[in-house]
């Protein structure tokens, strides 16, 4: 579903990604872990078509970056730590806007569906300005799933959420993933990642230092795996 070969990303003279090789099969849920500054957000932005690779190949759903970026976008859902929502619009207006941007026809039904899925149906007319961080994040996921994307990218979705909101997010993520989507999620929070993902990749110093599926990890636990990968 996602194939990345020797991806290099430079900002001026600084090289952030130094030849990343990364492959995701359809339906996998990959947790991309790593220390701060490893390049996780940069990597995700490139996958999200928001940033161009300096060198290397990226293929998503059969389309190549950067030339076929538009086709990729239609099948991509992105949740970043910023909500990407307009504070002065209500929840349903935000969804309506994105529905129109994604060219979804007959969106009213879909919007109601999504609001119910993330548990915000009763607050649909309220302005997003008034939402808590947790509610905004749930709505953001709703926005990302609106057009039924095949691939989903989550960049540190748990940032700033309290315990309650985090467990709600867990549920939403599980639902979203269960629908056959391919998911890549970056996170600092090893515990949450361990809970959700089918595969764990560690990004360190600009390359993928280690990768293991859940089955392979049954023997050790995630923290040990993580520390080993960083040390090596």
């Amino acid at each position: 579903m996602i194939t990345v070969k020797k991806l290099v990303k430079r900002f001026g003279l600084k090289t952030v990604l130094r030849g990343v090789d990364f492959e995701v099969q359809p339906g996998e849920f990959v947790a991309l872990l790593g220390p701060n500054g490893a390049g996780k957000t940069t990597f995700l932005r490139i996958l999200a078509t928001l940033s161009r690779p300096s060198l290397g190949e990226v293929n998503i759903a059969g389309y190549k970056l950067p030339h076929e970026a538009a086709q990729i976008r239609a099948r991509l859902g992105v949740v970043s730590h910023l909500p990407l929502l307009y504070g002065d619009l209500s929840a349903e207006e935000n969804l309506r806007f994105y529905a129109r941007m994604y060219g979804i026809s007959n969106y009213e039904l879909r919007i109601t569906e999504i609001l119910e899925m993330v548990g915000l149906e009763t607050r649909r007319r309220d302005l997003v300005r008034a939402f808590s961080r947790g509610m905004q994040q749930r709505l953001a996921i709703g926005r990302a799933v609106l057009h039924d994307p095949d691939v989903m990218l989550f960049d540190e979705p748990y940032t700033g959420l309290d315990q309650d909101a985090s467990s709600m997010l867990d549920d939403v993520l599980k639902t979203v993933a269960a629908e056959g989507r391919t998911v890549v999620m970056t996170s600092h929070d090893l515990a949450r990642a361990e809970n959700l993902a089918t595969r764990f990749d560690i990004l360190s110093r600009g390359i993928i230092a280690a990768s293991a599926t859940r089955k392979q990890m049954k023997k050790s636990n995630l923290l040990t795996f993580y520390k080993q990968a960083l040390a090596g």
Binding site: F11, G12, L13, K14
Partner: protein, 234 residues
């Protein structure tokens, strides 16, 4: 790109200095004194030449801007910056020399006429250009935004010039031939003067090429230093 200055460039440096010297000599000593304005008119040769170089720089900035956006090769960005820097310096000189010339002729340091005002606006655009670049840390974005603004500015300047011209009755003298009654200055040019003017323009064109080449080299060397710095700190 060589570490040491290529021989051609060294020669060009020498030739440029020589040509400037000759031009100044011609302007100050050889050129006949103009009938109406007297000795101060001699500034005119250098004034026109610097304005000419300013123009060259301005035009020379357009192509690299387009090429940078197309190819994303940073060398075009360095060429673009070089052209704009040279243009900004020379337009400034032209304005100053123009004022020196204007004072005795028009009894004012400044008049809001088309050419002077457009040169001043060009300076403002260049200032904006450098401010824009200064506010961006990411080198790739800096180059991209610089190129975009350079193109917008280069489209707008000719229109600005035309519009001011339409507003004013120009105070700039009609250079070749006898001036009409509507312009406030009369300056009759003899054939000798025309020859010297053309030589001055030619000389300063060579100076432009010399400065342009040098400035591009400077940009390349700066880039190299940055790369070496990065290697050392890794």
């Amino acid at each position: 790109m060589q570490q040491n200055k290529p021989v051609t460039l060294r020669i060009l440096d020498g030739v440029s200095i020589l040509l400037i010297g000759i031009t100044v000599y011609l302007a100050l000593f050889v050129a006949p004194t103009e009938v109406t304005m007297g000795a101060v008119q001699r500034v005119f040769y250098i004034h026109v030449s610097t304005a000419w170089v300013g123009m060259l720089g301005f035009i020379a900035a357009v192509i690299p801007s387009i090429l940078y956006l197309r190819t994303k090769d940073m060398k075009w960005d360095r060429i673009e910056v070089a052209a704009i820097e040279i243009s900004s310096v020379f337009f400034f000189l032209a304005i100053v020399l123009g004022s020196i010339w204007a004072r005795p002729a028009w009894n004012a340091w400044w008049k809001w006429e088309a050419r002077l005002t457009t040169a001043a606006i060009a300076e403002l655009l260049y200032f904006a250009y450098f401010m824009l670049r200064a506010g961006i840390d990411n080198p790739e974005r800096r180059a991209r935004f610089g190129a975009v603004y350079a193109l917008i500015a280069s489209v707008s300047i000719p229109i600005t010039f035309m519009s001011i011209r339409w507003v004013d009755r120009t105070l700039h003298p009609v250079v070749f031939g006898v001036s009409k009654a509507t312009s406030e200055i009369e300056m009759a040019m003899t054939f000798d003067m025309v020859k010297i003017l053309l030589f001055a323009i030619f000389a300063f064109s060579i100076v432009f090429i010399d400065l342009f080449w040098n400035r591009i080299r400077l940009g390349d060397l700066q880039e190299k230093v940055e790369q070496l710095k990065m290697k050392v700190t890794m």
